[in-house]
């Protein structure tokens, strides 16, 4: 039982990171209809920026992360400008184009930071908490808390602010939104920047738990995308549930199947998608002829 909870805790903290990644995917997809396979590479960029601010510029972690989020948001604006012609194209082209953009980001990261990667020491040095024999690293709690606060803020932004409501409107019907005077292009750019910021947050939060390298986004991006689909692509609560789901599945797979955790995770994911393609909160679509 103790080891069960131990595994669960570790699954939930990775799950919180996956939720943030999935949130970025879903926000960009629902607002602009863009399936962004470069999301993992954006995340990697954010992680590198945060670790550079933290390790090289010697900023405190709590300052380095928001700075990285902002900087990556700006990078996001840049990428959105390049990818804009893809937004109206068919999904397959989008998928391929964003994979290309991700490849470019990865190459740039290798040119700036070399391909060797770097470890980031945990910013929280307190001893792990002991709850009934289950050891919970304090940093994991910080990650979960930051992710939760971010999700609440994002929901409030979407529901309570004018800009957020405009983005919701664009998501539902871009043409009608234009007709009532919403600037769709600007709304898309903001959505992409927020998505990139979320990715950067996820990447920098994950970096003390993992290892920062140019390819770190590959695996995290795939897991986050899987989480978004599992929850229901484009749905905000779906992203949270899907992220925690993938985190917990992965954690138990690692516990029970050792090295084969990716194998088990993705086989389970494939079966789940086949059973319920629309995910937990997904809309059911009907063929129209």
């Amino acid at each position: 039982m103790q080891s069960f909870f131990q595994t669960l805790v570790s699954g939930l903290s990775f799950g919180a990171v996956y939720s943030l990644i999935a949130l970025g995917f879903s926000l960009v997809y629902r607002t602009m209809g863009l399936v962004n396979f470069a999301h993992g590479a954006v995340l990697m960029t954010g992680a590198y920026l945060a670790s550079t601010f933290y390790l090289s510029a010697r900023l405190p972690f709590a300052v380095a992360v928001p700075a990285a989020v902002l900087a990556t948001g700006v990078v996001g604006l840049l990428i959105e400008r390049v990818l804009r012609p893809l937004e109206s194209k068919d999904v397959d082209l989008m998928l391929i184009g964003t994979i290309g953009a991700g490849t470019v980001l990865e190459a740039v990261a290798i040119l700036i930071w070399t391909s060797s990667g770097r470890g980031v020491p945990s910013p929280v040095r307190a001893a792990p908490l002991d709850v009934g024999g289950v050891r919970i690293p304090v940093y994991n709690l910080v990650v979960i808390a930051v992710a939760a606060v971010t999700m609440v803020l994002l929901t409030l932004f979407l529901q309570r602010t004018k800009r957020g409501a405009a983005m919701q409107a664009v998501a539902m019907d871009p043409e009608a939104a234009t007709a009532v005077g919403i600037h769709v292009g600007r709304s898309n750019a903001v959505a992409f920047a927020i998505g990139a910021g979320l990715a950067a947050l996820a990447g920098s939060l994950a970096s003390p738990m993992l290892f920062v390298s140019p390819t770190m986004g590959d695996s995290l991006g795939i897991q986050g995308f899987a989480a978004a689909i599992l929850g229901g692509f484009g749905s905000i609560p779906g992203a949270i549930v899907g992220g925690l789901g993938i985190g917990v599945i992965g954690s138990f797979a690692a516990q029970w199947f050792q090295g084969y955790s990716d194998l088990v995770t993705f086989v389970v994911f494939t079966v789940l998608v086949m059973v319920r393609p629309t995910g937990v909160f997904g809309e059911k679509t009907v063929n129209r002829a």
Binding site: V35, F37, V82, L83, P85, L86, K89, V91, D92, L93, M94, L95, I96, G97, I99, G100, A101, G102, T103, V104, E106, A107, V108, I110, L111, S115, T215, D218, S219, I222, F225, A226, I229, F233, Q258, G259, Y260, S261, D262, L263, T265, F266, V267, F269, T270, V273, M274, P277, K284, V286, N287, A289
Partner: protein
């Protein structure tokens, strides 16, 4: 101009073959190994092109098929002492099984969902080979033997080049054989519009599996050859980065053209070798190239010549509607019309009732009109009859046989053809191919002939072309046989869609607003065509808003409102009924009159 190309093509191929054959004499040891790698990537890329470019199925697990082929040979030869070719055969079987497994999700999901699932399965495969003892884990497998051929060991990279060249040539030839004939036409139709392809008789699920099996055969063969060439395999060769590199090859070269895939693979392999010390810059370069190609030239390098040609053609003359011939009667199909009997049909979409106990009947040699306000369920009715929707209740019979609930392709094979309210022609197929695709009445299992009896495929193809030519002639469309649908004026596209529907020799024809967007002249021609179809014995049901046309054309009319039949009978009597007037114009008694 096309004929000129056709005459030049064998010459070009012969020249290419000679260049490929003498190339090794000009290459040093280093470059021959690059050439060997390039040919393997070309084989992989052709497989990826078939599944993604031809069949439209996103497959990010091609590198896993490559891995299954390579590891299959590696494990069987080193751990079990199998001979190379027996191991190769079994490895190919394993690769095909992998293709079936990876293709399975395609039955349920498409596009980006399929992308992430196949990518996930590729990661799963990578995870397995990195951890399993049988694959040697991280350190991989070494000591894989050289394949012997007619008593000669192919240890020389020069000799191996020829082995690869022959396999690639055979693979390309077979690939083109598939693409240009019945099976490939169906795959391409499915890529352009899976819904319309299903309604025209294509077994979408089987075709998707065939596409993945094709990809896995090419991937597996490349893997087998790789194992025999390098004698050593390790997980990093089958990484996700290599999958994206392979994808870049196919996209840059042109995913819809097998030659494009080959050119992309060879070009990128050579470029990568040239830039081996600047790997990051090479990656930067191909990444930007992929983005640029997707944005500016989605059909890749291979698509450039045809884009230029089409652009020049449009500037010079353009396709003129004047080339439209006159309609000269429906070619007889030898099939008689069928009785359509719809009884108590109910269709519910999550609480919304789209069809409410609809019953109607259409006889052979009759034109039944279905009218009603927008949203009254007319198209939903067609979608149920043609099998796109499974009804929530009630049934549809064709000549006394229940067809409701069957898959669209099966209903098409029972003799039901349809057109769509918003044109659904296969956009990247020529007019001739649109017609040939619907005319092809073979089932998917017929495709075994591709492997065991190619002559049968050729004969079938000749027969299809002959009959399709007759249909185009009859509909006056012969001048547009080689044109892509969207390059034609709208009215002609409408006629192509009717010709496509009639090509399947249906017994029941469903026309969904065939007159929408047609001018007066075109409407008269349409009426003439529909009457000729009735005269040939086919049962016709048509949805139409143009009341003049309905009144003059239809033998009987059924009026739908809010999913229910509110009137039926001969046109004149139906038009006079108060309930019909109310449905169309609102309440019949104005409040002022009532008081």
């Amino acid at each position: 101009m096309n004929r000129l190309f056709a005459a030049r093509r064998p010459l070009g191929l012969a020249a290419l073959a000679i260049v490929a054959w003498v190339l090794p004499y000009r290459l040093n040891v280093y470059w021959i190994s690059v050439a060997d790698t390039a040919l393997l990537f070309a084989l992989l890329a052709v497989g990826l092109g078939l599944v993604m470019g031809i069949a439209g199925q996103v497959n990010l697990a091609q590198v896993a098929f490559f891995g299954v082929g390579a590891y299959g040979v590696g494990i069987l030869t080193t751990a079990h002492g199998f001979g190379f070719w027996l191991a190769a055969l079994l490895a190919m079987v394993a690769a095909v099984c992998a293709g079936l497994v990876v293709g399975l999700p395609a039955l349920r999901v498409q596009s980006h969902y399929l992308g992430i699932v196949t990518l996930g399965l590729a990661v799963a495969f990578l995870d397995w080979v990195t951890n399993a003892p049988v694959t040697g884990g991280d350190s991989g497998l070494s000591g894989i033997p050289t394949p012997p051929l007619f008593g000669v060991g192919l240890s020389s990279q020069y000799l191996y080049y020829y082995l690869e060249l022959i396999v690639l040539a055979a693979g390309l030839a077979f690939g083109y054989f598939v693409v240009r004939t019945s099976l490939g036409r169906r795959l391409r139709a499915m890529r352009d519009d899976a819904l319309a392809a299903g309604a025209a008789g294509a077994e979408i699920r089987v075709l998707r599996m065939i596409a993945f099996v094709l990809a896995s055969v090419y991937g597996g063969a490349a893997g087998v050859l790789y194992a025999g060439l390098i004698h050593y395999i390790a997980p990093e060769t089958f990484s996700i980065a290599d999958m994206f590199l392979l994808l870049a090859m196919v996209i840059i070269g042109g995913r819809q053209s097998l030659w494009g895939c080959v050119v992309g693979a060879i070009g990128l392999t050579v470029a990568q070798q040239e830039l081996i010390n600047l790997a990051a810059y090479a990656q930067l370069g191909y990444g930007m190239l992929v983005v640029a190609v997707v944005v500016f030239a989605p059909t890749g390098l291979a698509g450039v010549p045809s884009r230029v040609r089409r652009w020049r053609l449009r500037r010079r003359s353009g396709i003129s509607a004047a080339a439209l011939g006159s309609f000269s009667g429906v070619p007889s199909s030898g099939r008689t019309g069928a009785v359509l009997e719809v009884s108590g049909l109910v269709m519910r979409f999550r609480g919304v009732i789209a069809l409410d106990r609809v019953s109607l009947r259409a006889e052979p040699g009759e034109i039944l009109g279905i009218v009603g306000p927008n949203g009254s369920g007319k198209t939903t009715l067609f979608n149920v009859i043609s099998g796109l929707y499974r009804p929530s209740g009630g049934r549809v019979d064709l000549d006394g046989r229940v067809i409701s609930g069957s898959r669209p392709w099966r209903i098409s094979h029972h003799g039901v053809a349809r057109t769509f309210q918003h044109l659904r022609l296969f956009g990247n197929l020529t007019v001739l191919d649109n017609v040939r695709m619907a005319m092809d009445r073979t089932r998917s299992w017929w495709s075994w002939r591709y492997v065991f009896w190619p002559v049968g495929v050729w004969r079938h193809e000749r027969e299809l072309s002959r009959q399709a030519g007759a249909v185009l002639d009859a509909f006056g469309l012969a001048a547009f046989a080689g044109a892509l649908p969207h390059s034609l004026p709208y009215g002609i596209q409408r006629r192509v869609e009717i010709a496509r529907a009639m090509a399947s020799a249906p017994r029941l024809l469903l026309l969904d607003e065939p007159a929408a967007g047609l001018n007066g002249d075109e409407q008269r021609q349409l009426a003439e065509i529909v009457r000729a179809i009735r005269a040939s014995g086919v049962t016709v049901v048509l949805i139409e808003h143009n009341m003049g046309l309905v009144m003059s054309l239809c033998d009987r009319v059924v009026v739908l409102d809010s999913g229910a039949v509110i009137a039926s009978g001969v046109p004149a009597s139906v038009a006079a009924q108060p309930a019909v007037l109310e449905a169309y114009l609102g309440t019949t008694t104005l409040p002022s009159e009532a008081s």
